[in-house]
C-alpha cells in the first residue's frame, strides 16, 4: 500500500466521492412520472388491450370466423361461436379471455382481414375477473374507447402486415388494408350532444 492509498483510506476519500455524487443528484431533476396525473406516451404498435375493429362503413366488426386466431393462439384464449345459416357461416360471438392472454399478437398477424387488433391502450385493470373476459360487444366498445383517445385521424397496426414476409404472399384483404379512418373525437362528442338533445 503506497502513501496515497493510505491517505485515501484514512480520509475516507471514496466515501466523500460517493457523498458528492448523491449531493449532485439531490439537486438534479428527478425522472419520476407522476402516473395517474401524467401518463407516458406508449409507442405505436404497443401490444395492449384487445379490440375488434369497427368497420367504418358497416359499423360492425370485420370478423369472418375463419378460426385462424384461435388456432394460432399459444395460450388458447380466443373462442369463436359460429352458426351455419342460409347466408353461410355467421359469427355469433367472439370471446377473448384477457386474463389468459400473453399478448404475443400472433392473432393480429394471422387475421386475414385485419379484424383484430391489440390497441395501445394499457389501462384496463379490473376488480372482477369477468370484466376481463371480453365478448364481441366489449371488444367493439374497446375499439371505440381506444379511438376516442387516438390522436390521429387514421389508425394502422404494424402487426397487420407482418414485415419480412413477401407482400405477394399476403391475402388480398391484408395487402389492400390501408389505415383505418377514425371518427374524430369532436364528431363523436357532437353526436352525443345531438343525441342528448333529441332524447
Amino acid at each position: 500500500m503506497n502513501l496515497r492509498e493510505l491517505l485515501n483510506k484514512i480520509f475516507l476519500i471514496e466515501v466523500f466521492k460517493g457523498l458528492a455524487l448523491t449531493l449532485k443528484m439531490l439537486f438534479s431533476k428527478s425522472v419520476t412520472i407522476q402516473y395517474p396525473f401524467e401518463r407516458r406516451k406508449v409507442y405505436e404498435g404497443f401490444r395492449g388491450r384487445h379490440a375488434l375493429v369497427r368497420d367504418p362503413f358497416s359499423g360492425n366488426d370485420k370478423c369472418i370466423g375463419c378460426m385462424r386466431c384461435t388456432t394460432v393462439c399459444p395460450s388458447r384464449c380466443i373462442f369463436i361461436k359460429r352458426e351455419k345459416t342460409e347466408k353461410g357461416m355467421v359469427v355469433t360471438d367472439y370471446i377473448i379471455d384477457a386474463s389468459r392472454c400473453i399478448f404475443c399478437a400472433y392473432c393480429v398477424e394471422a387475421c386475414p382481414v385485419c379484424a383484430l387488433v391489440l390497441t395501445e391502450d394499457y389501462e384496463y385493470s379490473s376488480y372482477d375477473r369477468k370484466e376481463l373476459i371480453f365478448n364481441k360487444e366489449k371488444l367493439l366498445k374497446n375499439w371505440d374507447e381506444f379511438t376516442k383517445k387516438w390522436p390521429h385521424d387514421y389508425y394502422f397496426n404494424k402487426f397487420w402486415q407482418p414485415p419480412g414476409i413477401d407482400p405477394s404472399r399476403w391475402p388480398k384483404t391484408k395487402r389492400e388494408q390501408g389505415p383505418i379512418p377514425i371518427k374524430r373525437a369532436v364528431e363523436i362528442k357532437r353526436e352525443e350532444q345531438n343525441e342528448s338533445i333529441s332524447s
Binding site: V15, G18, L19, T22, L26, F27, S30, T32
Partner: protein, 334 residues
C-alpha cells in the same frame, strides 16, 4: 407548598410545549427523510397529499393510529405490548436535559451527559424485549444484533465525549456550550475532530441507521426486531428511532458545534450574524446532522455484523482513547 406546586405546574407546561414542538419536528423529519432520499435517488418522494406532499406525515399518523392493532398469537403479550413504550419513554426522557437555548431547558441537572447516555442505554431494553417477545426468528436475531451493537457502541460514544468533558470541565450541557465560547474558535469541533468523527460513527450505530442498520436490516432480517409489530405500536418504535436521531443530533450540536452560539471569529467577520436568535442556530445545526443521517443513508451500503463489531472495538474505541490522551496532554501543558 405553593412554590413546589407552581414549580411542578411550570415544569408540566414546559414539558407539554417541548413535547408538542418535538413531535411536530419528528413528524416532519420522516417527511424530510422521504423527500431527501427521494431526490437523491432522482425520485420525488411523497407528492399527493397537500402541495408537494406536505401533509403526508399527518396522513401517516392518522393511518397508523386507526389501523387494526394486531398482536400475533404465541407472542409474550405483556412484554410485547410494553416494549415499544420502553423505547419511546427512554427516547423522550433524554430531552429533559437538552437545552435548546441559553436557559431553555426543562431540567438543568449537573450530570446532563451521563443522564443522556444512561437513558439512551435503557432504550436498548425496548428493542431486546421486542425481539424476544415477538416469537419470530427474524425479530429474535434483530434483537440480539441490536443488543450487542448498542452495548459496544455506547462505549465508543461515551469515550468520544470524554474529550469534550475534559475541555469543558463540566457534565452540564449548558455549561459545555458556554465554555466553548471562551475559546477563540468557539466550537469543540476543531480541537476534538477525532472525537467528533468517533461520535458521528457511534451515533449512527447507536440510532441503528445506515450503514449500521443491522438490527432492522431490511434485506437480511426483513424488518428486524419490529417485524411483528403493526399499527400504533410500530409507530411508537418509529417515533423512538427518530427521537433518538434528534437526541444524538442535539448532543452533537451541543458538544461539538457550540450549541446556540456563534463562534467569535465568525462574528468578527460577519457581525450581522448576531441578530440571528440562538434557537435558530441550534435548530439549523441539529438539522444539519439530521441531513447527514439521511445523506449517508442515500450513499452507503450496510456493514456485516462481525465487521460492525470489529469497527466498534478495534477502531473506534482505540481512536477515542487516543483522543482522550491527546486532550489530557493538551490540557496538562496548557
Amino acid at each position: 407548598m405553593m412554590e413546589t406546586l407552581s414549580v411542578i405546574f411550570v415544569t408540566i407546561i414546559k414539558t407539554a410545549i417541548y413535547f408538542g414542538i418535538l413531535m411536530l419536528h419528528v413528524a416532519y423529519a420522516t417527511y424530510a427523510e422521504r423527500k431527501v432520499i427521494g431526490h437523491i435517488q432522482l425520485r420525488l418522494g411523497p407528492m399527493v397529499i397537500g402541495p408537494h406532499g406536505i401533509l403526508q406525515p399527518i396522513a401517516d399518523v392518522v393511518k397508523l393510529i386507526f389501523k387494526e392493532d394486531i398482536i400475533p398469537s404465541n407472542v409474550d403479550r405483556r412484554i410485547f405490548t410494553i416494549a415499544p413504550l420502553i423505547s419511546l419513554t427512554a427516547a423522550l426522557s433524554t430531552f429533559a436535559v437538552i437545552p435548546v437555548n441559553d436557559g431553555w431547558v426543562i431540567s438543568d441537572i449537573n450530570v446532563g451527559i451521563l443522564y443522556v447516555l444512561g437513558i439512551a442505554g435503557i432504550g436498548t431494553y425496548g428493542i431486546i424485549f421486542a425481539g424476544w417477545s415477538s416469537n419470530s426468528k427474524y425479530a429474535f436475531l434483530g434483537g440480539l444484533r441490536s443488543a450487542a451493537q448498542m452495548i459496544s457502541y455506547e462505549v465508543a460514544l461515551a469515550m468520544s465525549l470524554v474529550g469534550v468533558i475534559l475541555m469543558a470541565e463540566s457534565f452540564n450541557l449548558t455549561e459545555i456550550v458556554n465554555k466553548q465560547q471562551e475559546y477563540w474558535y468557539g466550537m469543540f469541533l476543531f480541537p476534538q475532530i477525532i472525537g467528533y468523527f468517533v461520535f458521528v460513527v457511534a451515533m449512527l450505530a447507536e440510532t441503528n441507521r445506515v450503514p449500521f442498520d443491522l438490527p432492522e436490516a431490511e434485506t437480511e432480517l426483513v424488518a428486524g426486531y419490529f417485524v411483528e409489530y403493526s399499527g400504533i405500536r410500530f409507530a411508537l418504535f418509529y417515533l423512538a428511532e427518530y427521537l433518538a436521531m434528534f437526541c444524538m443530533s442535539a448532543l452533537a450540536t451541543i458538544c461539538f458545534w457550540g450549541g446556540w452560539t456563534v463562534p467569535a471569529f465568525l462574528l468578527k467577520f460577519f457581525p450581522f450574524l448576531e441578530i440571528v436568535p440562538g434557537i435558530i442556530w441550534f435548530i439549523l445545526k441539529v438539522y444539519f446532522h439530521i441531513f447527514l443521517f439521511l445523506w449517508l443513508r442515500g450513499t452507503l451500503p450496510r456493514y456485516r455484523y462481525d465487521q460492525l463489531m470489529a469497527i466498534g472495538w478495534k477502531v473506534l474505541i482505540p481512536l477515542a482513547l487516543l483522543n482522550i490522551v491527546i486532550t489530557s496532554l493538551f490540557k496538562y501543558y496548557h
